[in-house]
Symmetry: C2
Subunit: 138 residues, 2 copies
DNA sequence: GTGATAACCTAGACTTGGTCCAGACATGGA
DNA sequence: TCCATGTCTGGACCAAGTCTAGGTTATCAC
């Protein structure tokens, strides 16, 4: 799924013309479990594809979102981040580093969201803040 | 609490010099249950105080946040909104209008956030998206 | 009251994340 | 091969937010 041919096929399945730029961007943004900003993706992609333009990165990320390969999130700093994890999940934000970590949907139990009076709730997410614990086993 | 004298006293209690500009800003941002942006506050305040500068509004909102009178939130559009409700609560975002509505803390039951493996969770909030239901009683 | 000092405010320049556009380049079908 | 369409590029542009230099206002000592 992360090799050049596999990425190209994946884009085509979603009706996206697999241009060289789009494949290069997809390689960086679809294979990470991080939450990079557009400019971080641009910097990363330029290391192997220096001529790519900023407009193309922004346009391509938008296209991937429209085609369901990515989603966007906004937590703090007024910056949009891209998330390759498009399934339901929650987020933990490390207040010390600003890092965003995914939290599995099953790790939490949210009750009452569906039957909220006055609102038709289509989706929800828990956003947690705190500090990552030093992993004692690592 | 919303008249000029009351606002002035409130600011002084928090160690904030109650200048005319600060009182005018406080009147608009502390008495609403909406979630206005800084530029919305600026526009609103200017109707009764035309000479107030953008820098003063931004600085004053930051000061109010530092003093615990306001909090900031970022949901979408890469814009910071200010929330006079500084207690624990959740948020519902109307996908059609972009409006942000407060949801009382007790309306939802979230379990598992405190004992999340690997993270020390200090706070959390549920962010819901959907549409506001037409209120049939109104 | 007068003057010194600190606090506060203003206008506008600046930064930055993001969009838009006009022209260049690539692709694919007739 | 030619044309139509799709894609990409660089740079101008926009909008939210910050910074700064200088002016105004409040506070306090005398
Ligand atoms: Mn950047
Ligand atoms: Mn911005
Ligand atoms: Zn995520
Ligand atoms: Zn709120």
């Amino acid at each position: 799924m992360t090799d050049h041919q596999g990425i190209s096929d994946l884009l085509q399945e979603r009706g996206i013309q697999p241009s060289a730029q789009r494949v290069a961007i997809a390689r960086h943004v679809l294979r990470t479990d991080g939450h990079p900003t557009a400019d971080e993706v641009l910097a990363q992609v330029r290391r192997s594809f220096p001529m790519v333009s900023r407009a193309t990165v922004y346009n391509t990320l938008k296209l991937f979102v429209a085609k369901g390969l990515l989603r966007t999130c906004q937590f703090e700093g007024g910056v949009t981040v891209y998330d390759a994890n498009v399934g339901r999940h929650h987020h933990f934000i490390d207040a010390a580093t600003g890092e965003i970590h995914d939290v599995p949907w099953e790790a939490l139990d949210v009750r009452g969201a569906e039957e909220l009076a006055g609102f038709q709730v289509d989706s929800w997410m828990v956003v947690m803040r705190g500090r990552r614990r030093d992993d004692p086993g690592a």
